[in-house]
Amino acid sequence: MSKIKKVVNYILHVRDKGRTINISGLYIAFALISLYAVIMGIVCFIKSDVIMGITNIVIALVMTLTILMFSKIKSHTVLSVFVVIFIYTLMVYFLYEGGVGGVSIMWLLFVPVAGMALINLYYGSILSLLLGITVPLYMFTPLHYLGYQYSEEYRIRFPIIYWAFFILALVIFIRIERSEEAQKEMVKKADEANRSKSEFLANMSHELRTPMNAIMGMCELTLNEEIPENVRENNENIHQASKNLMSIINDLLDFSKIESGNMELSCSQYRLSEVLNDVLYMTSARKGGKKIEYLVDCDPDIPDVLYGDELRIKQIMINLITNAIKYTEEGGFLLSVSHRREKYGINLIISVKDSGIGIQKSQLGKIFNAYGRIESEKVHAIEGTGLGLPITKKLIKLMDGVINIKSRYGEGTEFKVVIPQKVIEDTPIVTINKTDKRYKFLCCFNADGIPDFITHSFLNTFTTAMKRLDATLYNSQNIDDIIFESRNGRYTHVLISEKDYSENKTYFDDLAKKCFVIVMQERNSKIILGSDVVRLYKPFYIKKFCEIINRPFNVKNKDTSPDAFIAPKAKVLIVDDNIVNLKVAVGQMGTYRMEIDTASNGIAAVEMVKHKKYDIIFMDHLMPGMDGIETHREIRQIEKDYAKKIPVIALTARSESDIGGLYIKEGFQGFMPKPIPSSALRNTLLKWLPAEYIKKKENDA
């Protein structure tokens, strides 16, 4: 049965898509032979010569299939013509022989409908017309005497009925065809409208971000200066408001793109550890003054190097975490990242669980609806466009993933996202160096007011590391207990909160000379640690913790602060036609104390590169005259060795995922959005500047 199905499907495919037909004599001969064989086959059946009938039908089938399978020139109309001739011949024969039993001529009434439906309107109409002419010719001319003798009544009525059927079928199928053409036209117009919309969105993205870059950049520069306290406060408010506005603009643009079907993923190789580092860094400040705990539980065995849209995965995590922060007033929330192996790679499982206000069951359906916010007293006071979750869901769907929600009103919510990702390298995200030393850990984690699921996860992070190291962990909520235990000198690592540290500073600074004292500290903390004390910024995950464990004792005071470097020997060129943007960029990079030159157009930039060896170039894309891409090409043409190797980073006011692929294709070493995120700038400089240029910034103390 499946073989017959295959043959039928093949024939239907030829009918719809066309197939090449060779008009050589051999194939024409085959076509005529098969036509003749079919007719003869039917004649034989009627004359009860079954064997000859079957033989003829088989010959016809073989001939037809031969033509279909081996012919060469493209034309599905030839098949249609063939079918028309075949059916016409059959019908005429039917007419002459009076059909089976004579009155079966009535079956000819189906020819118009069958012809137009099974072949197409044009050839079906031709077939029906031919038959419509042949029937009265047969009925009213001496041709009638050559074949079956129909009754007088039949000879008059049948042609009339046939023509009525033919005209009706013609009208119906013409209307169907017109309606199909109208639909095609509508689809074409919709496609054009979509294209216009996406161009508009791309332009809007640039037009909105450029002034925002100026506002945010200038605020940051002002805040870096020595200014009166009231001016500082006002600037901070402007800066925060502009960040909020930028976030809203990004959400609106993303949402518009998604709704118009123009959102595309930009997939490439990425490191999950870098994604997590960036996400934790970017979201740590969003807690603001809220006294909520933010913890991360990461499966240490997740492969680190994956293939997917890194930016969008970051965006999903940030949206979920921002949501948790917004709706949690006490307790805290937990970001969990785990995986499950599959043939195609892994299912990356990201969960954010909070102890926030929760969602009523009746409102769960509205969560992902951009146009309807949840109605609840607790939610009214919370600001936001409500686009974060709808965008998140759309992005997850684009990645062929799923999102699940579990919530209890008044108790908290958990969002769980599952996204399939390809694995590029199996190296796990965390490796712990094998050691002969037996580690013993002391940990003070005060779980007061923190939900159990967070405490459990916090301890799980350490327990996992302990198992890998074959180490022991002593955990207590009481700092006096920890101090008492640490006095016996058996412990290699002591982990405490910054509150406990600051209340017992002298003791722990002294203890740090004998073992690792690790202080879990908020990023915006002003507490200064002793030179031997190790800082572990919150939120942290197991990789950060293991990086400390992996360090030999004599480098324990390596600062984990991400901003603690300068590069005074580095020579940087920034190219941008907008004076304000230039000023902002110079201000941002000034904190690294690099030697910075600027150019306001591509031609000037090329001249400058000819005469000076820069270590890195930041190039705006859209500039009048020679744009960033052309300038980049010109720089690579300069006949100096260094010109071919200078890392060039594109700066764009458009959304990264719109245009990132273009820069990579053009040979840029990277790209950054405007306004330039400080974390992205830091990471870019660390990546591309020569290692010997990077110097530790003077210690806080």
Binding site: R340, K343, Y344, N347, D400, G401, V402, N404, K416, V418
Partner: protein, 284 residues
């Protein structure tokens, strides 16, 4: 040392988390296939998260049972070094290879008993709850198994389907029959008992109308129905509709406990959205 018997079952039991946690019932997840991606039911995907893909995007979804290796890993993990006794209740072997796979996995494990419940959804849930209640009282495995044999024929499990196209997509029903049922808007009632699936009638009409008729039909024999617990399985039904069903069921019998819960993603793949199931125990 904890000698309590561990009760395990497939995710197709559809039991709510509160009952799973209360009795420490362990779940083996099935797999859901969508667009060549394989998700784990219960841990990665639910029927609610699949609903939009299926209704709005017309995605084809199907389910597959855990493999022999999956079951083996599950049993070994539960048994631990102490090789604790495990009783695993499986979905009807007529509907899935899960029972065969579980049985093969436990072939050389004396401490694991695999039972073919012959039913699905909350019917399997009732079956498992009985085992879990006995296990919580430290009953021996022989007693639990014998009690399960007694309760098995008394569990009534039925569904009324809004559409049969999901059954057809998963090759459980002839496509032509499914199309005919859809053409005439016939909603069939499927009854699952003793490992057999039968069609026990059908209704037409509006959703509320046929739902109420279905409830009345299955709860017709009131005297023979145990009022201890009623499970109502729903797939993609609104809260208002769920309340209509609960009200109808309560009109007929004063239940001591009613649970209304979404079906698992696995069951959803077969019964589709908008279907309702009613499960309870009979007196004899």
């Amino acid at each position: 040392m904890n000698n309590r018997i561990i009760i395990s079952t497939d995710c197709t039991c559809d039991l709510p988390d509160e009952l799973l946690e209360k009795y420490s019932i362990q779940i083996v997840p099935f797999y859901i296939l969508m667009k060549d991606i394989r998700f784990q039911d219960y841990t990665e995907v639910t029927s609610t998260s699949l609903l939009e893909y299926v209704e709005q995007d017309n995605e084809k979804i199907s389910s597959m049972p855990p493999s022999v290796e999956d079951y083996r890993a599950h049993f070994l993990k539960l048994a631990g070094e102490e090789k604790r006794t495990i009783i695993h209740a499986s979905i009807s072997s007529k509907l899935s290879d899960a029972y065969m796979n579980a049985r093969d996995a436990a072939a050389d494990m004396d401490n694991v008993f695999v039972i073919n419940s012959g039913i699905i959804s909350h019917g399997l849930g009732i079956f498992v709850l009985r085992a879990a209640e006995l296990a919580s009282r430290n009953a021996p495995s022989e007693l639990i198994l014998s009690e399960l044999k007694k309760i098995q024929p008394r569990i009534s499990t039925s569904f009324i389907l809004k559409t049969t196209s999901y059954l057809a997509n998963n090759n459980r029903l002839n496509t032509m029959r499914s199309n005919l049922l859809s053409l005439f808007k016939i909603k069939p009632i499927l009854r699952i008992k003793n490992n057999e699936i039968t069609v026990d009638g059908a209704f037409i009409g509006s959703r509320t109308s046929y739902a109420k008729k279905y409830i009345r039909k299955v709860l017709k024999d009131k005297k023979n129905i145990s009022d201890e617990i009623l499970f109502i399985a729903v797939s993609g039904c609104s809260e208002e509709f769920q309340q209509i069903i609960i009200d109808e069921a309560t009109k007929l019998i004063k239940w001591k406990k009613i649970y209304i819960h979404d079906v698992s993603a696995t069951n959803f793949c077969n019964i589709g959205p908008g279907s309702i199931g009613v499960m309870f125990c009979t007196q004899k």
